[in-house]
Point group: C7
């Protein structure tokens, strides 16, 4: 029976120069519920799927306000994401206290990435199991970054991560050229359409998603349920038969394949650890 001897310690390189533990942590992001971000010249919209575990619970928060000008959406291990969000919040506070100005988004993103990198180079830690979409506005305009468990970050016009996010990416790639000049309303509309793509035929309602906006003269805030539902209704987005069926199975197949290699007590149909 084959045994990979290079993939249990984060400080062990494989003969081909790979760090498997870091790659495995990136799988945790893929298993989280989907989150997307879009950016125009003046606004950033973050949106995420967050179904409640049961009727009895409220949704688990997947989008967090960091500061008036920055917010973050997470996919993967929620606990890791929350700890990192809080780190971002305190960095913003410290900066604004020291310099009496707002922490530029790009600078925060680098600090966040450095924090993640350290966890890939110490034998007693593990890489964070969460992807973060950081959206914000500063003097250099609107920004959208994706921070990865590897300690890398990327700037995006639009991005989708998490379970079945490929369908959303496909949608956004068709339309991204319009995003830069997009109005606030159209950006939200595209966010909702993209999010719907990840649902695999499930109906989009305000009760299974969160939408947040930050923009010129508009602090980062999460839209209330009524507003989101009104927009869904207005745009006729709900879409009981989603057109993204051809993309999702492929993505799903990859997950199932990886999952089959694992042995665990949780149900196959449910993402483990509520990520």
């Amino acid at each position: 029976m084959f045994r990979n001897q290079y993939d249990t310690d984060v400080t062990t390189w494989s003969p081909a120069g790979r760090l498997f533990q870091v790659e495995y942590a990136m799988e945790a992001v893929k298993q989280g519920s989907a989150a997307i971000g879009l950016r125009s010249k003046t606004h950033v919209v973050l949106a995420s799927v967050n179904k409640a575990n049961s009727e009895l619970s409220s949704h688990q928060k997947k989008i967090f306000k960091v500061d008036d000008h920055i917010g973050v959406a997470i996919a993967g291990l929620t606990a890791d994401g929350r700890v990192l969000s809080r780190y971002m919040r305190s960095e913003c506070i410290n900066y604004s206290y020291s310099y009496e100005s707002k922490l530029p988004v790009g600078r925060l993103v680098v600090q966040l990435a450095d924090k993640a990198q350290v966890c890939t180079q110490r034998s007693w830690k593990r890489p964070y199991g969460v992807g973060l979409l950081v959206g914000g506005l500063d003097e250099s305009g609107a920004h959208l970054y994706y921070n990865c468990p590897s300690g890398n970050y990327f700037e995006y016009q639009a991005f989708a991560m998490g379970s079945r996010s490929q369908a959303a990416k496909t949608y956004m790639e068709r339309k991204f050229e319009t995003f830069t000049e997009s109005s606030r309303e159209n950006l939200i509309k595209d966010a909702l359409f993209a999010l719907r793509e990840t649902l695999q035929g499930e109906k989009l309602t305000s009760s299974i998603c969160t939408v947040a906006v930050v923009g010129v003269d508009e602090s980062f805030h999460i839209l209330d349920k009524e507003t989101v539902q009104a927009l869904i209704n207005e745009f006729e987005i709900a879409g009981e038969e989603a057109p993204a069926n051809e993309a999702a199975p492929q993505d799903q197949g990859g997950d199932a394949q990886a999952g089959a290699a694992d042995q665990g007590p949780t149900d196959q149909g449910v993402a483990p650890m509520d990520i």
Copy 2:
């Protein structure tokens, strides 16, 4: 013979992006005796099953007062739960000393979750093996949270955890719409009915359960045995033939299956380590 090489260290990711040690710790919660929580606009009720080990012993405490406005019910490793309860208590004291006001429930819950998250990212520790139902009242109203070994937390209208808790969840899902406007008495009544569901035909008496209440103008306190028995009698809850038989076996089956994979010196019929 198959050997899972990714499930013995808390800092090792599986190829599919899972942390098995964290998931295993969550199994300890499932094996603990049942605990439930319900919330109305004005009150939170916590209730737990706690049978004594023998006639000679008193019950093991499963519900702890944290502060005048907060209490907690635990399921899983009692020692872990007790240590975390004490941590919560000292956080409340420090906060009230510093700010001369009560620590908001949500804030305490986040600190608790962060403490748990750290234990999922250090190789020399282990995740806590306990679930906590935190109920409390603050300026934003009544709250009920579930804190999980993974470092996640969830806000609930009503929740049940521990052995055979699925039956209680089913009961509460049928009735949860009434909870928000529920009176104090009805909330306790529903708590007792839900608790009875977890007993698999055993009779509910005040000697095998604990009930605690916190509400507007009512500090967190555990009801005395007489009061609980009086309520059981009044509501005719005892229920020698419990109707939850169809749900429990399924849950039990899962436990038995997992248990069969283990080798240990304790009796099959008794939960190990008195959790």
Copy 3:
């Protein structure tokens, strides 16, 4: 050949949510010589079997005075028990120095349990291999606690631990309803009767047991050999043919089974490490 991969590190959870190393440490308690405790409203009696290793040695101490109002009986690893007893003693001294009053029994028991819990959550330590029966008297009355290697503790009316303790428990369960109102003399008498149950036909004499008492107006002290022998004679307890034969074999069988799985240089008939 089967190999349990979850039972060698104290920080490793099994797939079913168990900590085997903690459970194994609890086995050490079962192998220690028997100790029992009983409590009335006004007195606590601790008693233990402690046969000398040979004619040349005195008995190994199994009961320790902690403070004027508290004492402890141990079963399991004597060295661990002694270290914990000393910890208790210094906690009592510090408390009485700071507050000029006696450390409440329950509070001491929690501190002791917390100290044990830490050893179940650090990879470089091991759980203590000793059970402690803590008996004491404070403003809230007489108390008897059992502290377990897992970091749990339980309050008892009466308890027995160690080798063949099941027979003593059976005896005490038959009589425990009388304990609360029992006189000092009857409590000691019941302690001696219960202790005899653990001897499997061996004659009870003052040279193989220790008895200690704490009560209202009576500091914790160990009874001298003459007093104990006089009581044995007075109550005609010695009992050459012990009636506990039916219970003991079962308990013994369990030990033998577990022992067969081990490989070690010590004799089968002798408890290893003089526990």
Copy 4:
């Protein structure tokens, strides 16, 4: 099945005196996208391939400004490279603050190499998985260094590293004798030609490469896209059919061979971890 027991810990020597973990980290450099550097007497040009992950993202930065007189191009683990770049930046700032002059390039390179060496001699770390091309100008002229994960560094007239870099090396070896006396424009032109060699038939455009220059009276800066495209057009470099086909397959073969020995969830065609 063969198992190499000397290649999982960075502090373990093989019987032949090799440190496999260091060699494996050097493989990560080979898998990164290509980067090249050239040096004349007066200028250093750094250039790198950096295709965006998708149309939605901007390129990932592979060339960083360190100080006015120094820049760096990286290949391999981007996160490691970014952390080291920041280290270089702060060393330059500290030096210029202390000595009011610019940190000599060679001195910075040694400090960087020493930082890398430490990671090859501590069991709880791992070697950095990144190669760095450091280009700069100081009182002793223009310099180009290659810093390697092993803690070694080398001074070069011209160098190429990363995926398919052999083709670029072959190009530069044919022409390197002209580099010393080369004009700024010719150096950039040669950089672009060399870079094209690594593309395996793909068309060179300003959108998949970055070019940076530092020289006498010219601070280190990255050329803007328009300038780069204009140069590509001017020199007619784009080259749809690249002439380097004979060299690349050989190099590619080596990578594929190494990759086949690994087991991982990422696609074969894509470099893992966005290195």
Copy 5:
């Protein structure tokens, strides 16, 4: 092939609640050369076998003076014994400096045992491989303790440890009732007779044993060779044909059996590491 997975780490419990590493350390005591102790009301006598390694060497010291009123005989790892003896010596000095009185024997023995216990509960240490017979005189009379690698200690009237000590124990058990009232001379005589029992037919001479005494009005001191030989002659102890032949083989057999399970470069007939 069977492999005991519970016996290589001192912090690992076996399923039956045993610490094998501690038990193995106790084997080292059994392999050391024999040492014995006897106690009357007024005197303690310590005696040990210590043959020189060769004609060229002096004997290795097995009995150490700790203070005027305390001495110690060791069996097992001499280096461990010497380190512990020095610890005892400095504890005595510190006590007498602080309190201007002699450190009670029992108190010193507890400190010694605690020091040994710590080595049974830290993963980076090992249990001491030495047994110590501590003899001394204080205000509560003459004392003889045996300190064991497990961190346990026992008070004895007389004790023998080390190689073939069973024969000496048998001798002393026959006579121990006379020890309490024994004169100084008789105590020494019995010590010599008991020591001879361990020699398996070898002749007892002053050159292969050490004898030390502490008593009322007699500081701890080691008897000189002449005195010892005179006593041997006077009592006609030498005994070329030792009567202990029937007891020794049994003990020896156990050792040989355990030794056969080991693989090492030392001669079978010689105790390894000069213990």
Copy 6:
């Protein structure tokens, strides 16, 4: 399949009393490019082979100036050698600052050896993989030392280390009796002849070797390329057909044999890690 269980940790002794990890580190020295040293009464000459990796690179430095009176040549892991050279440099500076005189060569060599010894006795480090030839002049004359990864050092009249150094040793053993009284020029000449022996038929030119001298009234300095080439020409050393062919294959054979036992991604013909 055989597996040596004693050769992966530097703190593990083999049954025959060997430290394999230290021996393996010494193999790294054998794989480095050759370096030699010679000493007369008044001068020390160090010389090394250092071919550039490619036409594009300068040579990697193998000889370092430590102080005016001391220099060092290395063979093996260059990064380790550089770190140790810097250590030597700072020791010299500190000494001369404290004592206003030059650090004696022998004293520096001991400090260097002690630093290496520490790395052979700590489980979290590895032995340095570099040999150092330290040449210098102090009040006691000219000195040449060889420092080894084991923490040993040796004083030599002349020494050669690294790849194919046996041929150079053979040359020097034939001539060493003349070295003490040798003139500066003859010493350099012999150094060049010896170095040529290691080249296996390759032509000796100033571009593949470095030569350094320290002597009475001559600070340690590296000879410039022109001077070296002039000497090669003057002495007619170049030697296209080297006469050392009979010695080299034997040495080479040993390396190849050792190398065959390893598994690595580097080419067989090239020394890994540029050592």
Copy 7:
């Protein structure tokens, strides 16, 4: 295939109570070149074999001066021996600075032994691989001690350690009764005769041995080569056909046997690591 699981960690006891790693370290002493010591009432002579590695090198120092009144000869790992010698030197200096008198030899030996013992009880260290013969003169006369890797020490009239030392021991055992009253010259003569026994037919010359003396009115010093050769000539010791042939093979055989169990890159005929 058999695998000894108890012999790779210094903190692991074998079931028979042995520390294999300590025993293995003692094997390193046996492989070192021979060293001997002899003591009269007034003098101590230390002598060692130290052949140079090659004609080009000086001998490796095996005898070190510690203080005016103490010297040491080592066998085994030279680097370990040197580090310990330096420790001894600084202890002597510190003592003489604090007390203005000479450190007694026995006291230094105990400190040395304690330092060695620590290395046998920490998991991250290894036992020293060196034996030390400490010879010195203090107020209590001349002393000769052997310090062993186990942390033990022994006082000797005469001792030999290292390769083929058995032959020397045999010689000295025949003559040791004369040593105490021996003159300085006879002691040196016996040292040289004993040393010759270890040479297996090789001729004894001053170039392959070192002799040192300390005595009344004679500070510790190493005899110069001329003096040693003169003595060899005077006593006609050289002995081309050594009579020790019958003893040596046996000893040699043991070494060869142990060596065959090891796997390493060094030549069979040469002691590894120049010990």
